[in-house]
C-alpha cells in the first residue's frame, strides 16, 4: 500500500496530492466519485488530518476535486476524468528544483522600478549609462574586423582575451599569472556560481562578511551551503574571527570583497590582509577574493589585491568589467589553480557551453586600446563627483538622522540610521515618494542600515532624490 515518504524533502501534503492526482488519472476514482473523508484518509496514511486537508485544498485549487458541505469531496465532473486533463501543471513545475527566488526586498525594488521608470534609482548596483564607454565600444565594433571563427571556442574562454588579461592583471593588479590559470566568465555572478556549485557540496560551511552582498545572493542558500558571518568594522573583516569559526564549523571556503567592500565601502587594512593570508595558509583554507571595484579608486592608486601577496596559492581571484566598464558586456574572469580552472570550465560546458566570442573580443580590444586608461580616469572623476554631491545633499537634508564613512572608491554609500526606523518601512515610504535604495537587511545587517548606490543615479536626480528620501525618513520619525 502506498504511503508518503517521510525521509524525502517534499512536503507530505504535496506527495499525497500527487498520488491522488495520479490515481484519479488512472481512473481509480472516476469523475463524480466520492473520495475518502479527510479523517479516514489521514488514519489510512498515518498522517495528521491537517495534512490531508492541505492536500485536498491543493487538488481543489487545480479544479481536480470539489467539496460541497454535507456531501463530502468528489472528483470533479467538469474538468476531469471523462475529459483528459490536457495541460501540464506548470505551476507545480515552476515550484520545483532547488533554486530559491530572489529576496523579497530585491523583488520589490525591481517591481517598483519596472512599474515606475521615473523612480530615482539609488538601488541598482551598477554604473550609469553615461559612465560606460559607449563610444569606445561602438568604435571598436565598427573598426575591427571580426573575421575570427565563430565556432565553439576554448572552454576556458577566448585565448587572445586571456592573454590580454595576463598583461592587465600584471599591470593594474600586480598579479602574476598565465592564460592557462584564467577562466573567462560572464561576470562575478557566474564565477561565484561555478565555485559554489562545483567545488562545494550541500551542507558545507562557508564564511562571508557581515554585512556582505553575498548575503543578498540566494545562490549560496540554493546550493545548500551553511553561511557563517565574519564581522566587518571600518578596517574590513577580522581574520581572528575566522580562526574561531573554522574550529567550530570546519569552514570550507571564505568569500571576501576587500577593496571598497559592497556594501560597507571599507578597505581591508594591510595588517589584516597579511593576517588573513597567514590564517588561510595555516588552515589550508581557500580564500575567494572578489575585486570588482578597485580600479574606481578616487585617488587613482587602489590597494593591491590579496592575490598579489598570495605565496601559497590560497587565493582564487575574481575580476570583472561590470563595475568599471559595462555590466552589459557580461565579461569577468577568475584566476585560480589550473586544476580548478579546468574543472570549472568543464562543468560550465554542461551549463551554457561557454561565452559568446563577440563580447570577449570587444573586451580584449578595449583593454588593448589607448582608450582604456582615459576611460578609467573619467569614470573615477565622475564617481567622485556623484559621491560628493550625494554626501553634501545628505548633510543638508538629514544631518541629524544618518551617519556614514566616506568611501574612497566603489559605487556605494553605506549609511547608519541614527533614529529607530525599520528599513523595510522606510523603503515603502520612499518608493511612494519616488525614490528607491537597498535596505541593509538585504546584506544580512540589522535594519538600521541602508545602502545608496550613487554610481547608477543620474547626476541631476541626486539632489531631488535625497530630498524625497529625507521626507520619507522624517515622516517615519
Amino acid at each position: 500500500m502506498w504511503k508518503p515518504d517521510r525521509q524525502g524533502t517534499r512536503p507530505l501534503y504535496e506527495q499525497i496530492a500527487d498520488h491522488l492526482e495520479q490515481q484519479i488519472s488512472y481512473g481509480e476514482f472516476p469523475p463524480g466519485s466520492l473520495l475518502p473523508s479527510e479523517r479516514k484518509l489521514a488514519e489510512h496514511l498515518g498522517v495528521n488530518r491537517s495534512t490531508v486537508i492541505q492536500a485536498y485544498a491543493e487538488l481543489r485549487s487545480y479544479g481536480i476535486i470539489e467539496s460541497r458541505s454535507g456531501s463530502g469531496t468528489r472528483v470533479s465532473r467538469t474538468k476531469w476524468g471523462a475529459t483528459p486533463k490536457h495541460t501540464p501543471n506548470w505551476k507545480r513545475y515552476a515550484e520545483g528544483g532547488h533554486f530559491l527566488p530572489n529576496p523579497p526586498f530585491m523583488r520589490k525594488i525591481r517591481e517598483a522600478l519596472n512599474k515606475n521608470p521615473s523612480l530615482i534609482d539609488f538601488a541598482s548596483g551598477e554604473i550609469a549609462a553615461d559612465l560606460a564607454p559607449m563610444d569606445e565600444v561602438a568604435n571598436i565594433m565598427s573598426t575591427h574586423n571580426y573575421t575570427s571563427y565563430l565556432g565553439y571556442d576554448n572552454p576556458q574562454g577566448h585565448g587572445p582575451l586571456r592573454e590580454e588579461l595576463v598583461r592587465y592583471l600584471k599591470k593594474f593588479r600586480s598579479i602574476d599569472t598565465s592564460d592557462s590559470s584564467i577562466l573567462v566568465t560572464s561576470g562575478s555572478q557566474q564565477s561565484l556560481y561555478l565555485l559554489t556549485q562545483c567545488l562545494l557540496s550541500p551542507g558545507d560551511a562557508v564564511a562571508i562578511e557581515d554585512p556582505s552582498y553575498s548575503y543578498s545572493l540566494p545562490m549560496f542558500q540554493s546550493a545548500g551551503l551553511r553561511l557563517f558571518r565574519l564581522p566587518v568594522d571600518q578596517d574590513g573583516m577580522c581574520p581572528d574571527a575566522l580562526i574561531d569559526l573554522y574550529k567550530k564549523q570546519r569552514i570550507k571556503m571564505v568569500f571576501i570583497n576587500p577593496n571598497y567592500q559592497n556594501p560597507s565601502g571599507t578597505i581591508l587594512t594591510q595588517d589584516r590582509r597579511e593576517k588573513l593570508l597567514k590564517v588561510a595558509a595555516e588552515l589550508a583554507l581557500p580564500i575567494v577574493e572578489d575585486d570588482p571595484f578597485s580600479l574606481t579608486s578616487y585617488s587613482g592608486s587602489p590597494p593591491l589585491p590579496i592575490k598579489s601577496m598570495d605565496k601559497f596559492g590560497s587565493v582564487i581571484y575574481l575580476g570583472s568589467f561590470s563595475k568599471i566598464a559595462a555590466s552589459g558586456l557580461r565579461v569577468g574572469w577568475m584566476v585560480a589553480p589550473r586544476s580548478i580552472v579546468e574543472r570549472l570550465a568543464d562543468a560550465r560546458q554542461q551549463m551554457d557551453y561557454g561565452l559568446s566570442v563577440i563580447p570577449q573580443q570587444v573586451a580584449m580590444q578595449f583593454l588593448r586600446s589607448s582608450h582604456f586608461e582615459p576611460h578609467l580616469d573619467r569614470l573615477r572623476m565622475q564617481l567622485q563627483f556623484k559621491r560628493d554631491l550625494l554626501i553634501s545633499t545628505l548633510r543638508t537634508e538629514v544631518p541629524d538622522l544618518i551617519s556614514y564613512n566616506i568611501p574612497q572608491g566603489g559605487l556605494h554609500l553605506w549609511c547608519k540610521l541614527l533614529v529607530e526606523v525599520h528599513d523595510g518601512k522606510l523603503l515603502d515610504e520612499s518608493i511612494q515618494r519616488g525614490v528607491v535604495f537597498v535596505p541593509g537587511s538585504v546584506y544580512g545587517s540589522d535594519s538600521s542600515y541602508i545602502r545608496f548606490t550613487y554610481a547608477r543615479t543620474k547626476t541631476e536626480d541626486i539632489v531631488p532624490g535625497i530630498k524625497k528620501f529625507a521626507k520619507a525618513l522624517r515622516a517615519l520619525v
Copy 2:
C-alpha cells in the same frame, strides 16, 4: 567521540582522511608521531580495515603521513606539523560538487583534437567555419550603431531580439507566441540546463530518445535525474512506449528532437506527432521539443515543429542559432508558458546574470536583414553537397561494412557497422590514422553504431578522412 557519518554521500575513507588531517593540523598528532595501526583505528571507528587503509593511502599521497614497514605510520616530519600546510587541497575541491565530468569518449576526442590539429574531424557537432555567415556578421557589426545602453538587461533577454524572434517563429516555424513567452538563452545547452535544474528535482524520472544526444550530456545525471529511453526507429520515437514508461516510472518530462534527430537523422512522422501530443495531453506531461536543425532541410521545406500543433500548451520549444548560423554567437531561445519563462529567468540571474547584449543585437540584426534567407539557402546547398560527398565516399570505400539511412537535413550521418567491431577500439584505431568520429555508445546506443558529422569537416578532407577510417575499420575486421 568522532565517527564517520554513514548517512552522508561522502565515502567513509574520505571522511576519515579529512578528520585525521584536521587533527594533525590542530597538533593532536605532532610531526613524527605514530598514528594508530590500521586494525586498531578500524575497530575504534567501527569500519572495515580496508577503509582505513584507503584513508591512510590518501593522506600518504598528499605527503601528510608516511609509512615504513616495521615501524608503522607516522605524521610526516618534512611536509607537515612544524610547518603549516599552506596550500588548500585543491585536488579535493576539484573533486567536490555534483557536476559529473564529460563522458570519457568525448574527452578522448577533445584531447585528440587539441593534440593534433590536423586530425580530420567528423566528431564536432557543429557547422564548419566556411558555412557560418562570417561576412554578414562582420558587416552587421561594422555598419550598425551600438548606442543602446550596455547595462543589466531584461532577465528574459534583450527585448528587440525577443520581438524579432516572435516574427521569426511565426514565419519559419508556424509558431504563434509573444515576447513575454520567450526566454533568450545562450543556446540549447543552457535551455536544457535551466529546465533540468529548475523544474525537476533529484530522483525525478525523464524520458529521452534512444539513441539521443541527451544521453551524451552529463547534465542529466549531474541533476540526479533518472533517465529512461524511448526507442527510435526510422519514423522517430514511439509514443506508445511513452504510455508504458509513464505508468511504470511516473515520467516528469519528455525530451525529444523530432526533426533530423541527433544522432539518427530521423524525422518523427506526422502520425506519431499527433499521437505524442494526445498522450502528453492525457498524462498532462510536458514535452521538451529541441528543434535546432529544421532549417537545414535540404528540400527547403522542413517539417513543422510539434509546438505548432500544440493546443494544450504541453510543449516547451527550444531553438538556436548554433546549427544554422554560428555556435560562437551563443544565442538560443525557449518558448514556454509565462510562469516557466519567468521562473527560469529569475533562476538564471543567480547563475550568470543573463547574456551579453552585443551578440543578441547581432542576432537580431541578422534575423532582420535581407541576408538571413540567402544564408540559409547557401547553408542547405553546402550541407547537402557534403552529405553527398561523404556518402559516395563511403560507398566506394566501405560498401560492405556499413549501412545508414540518408538524412534529408541536419549535420550528421548515423551509421550501423555491419561487422562486429567495438566502437571504442575503432575510435582508437581511427585517431591513430588521423580521423575522428563519435562512437554510438556516447548516445546510449550499442557499440555497433557510429556518428559522422559532415557539416564540420572541410570539404577537401572528406575523401581522405573516409579513406583513413576505412583502413582503420578493415584493420579491425
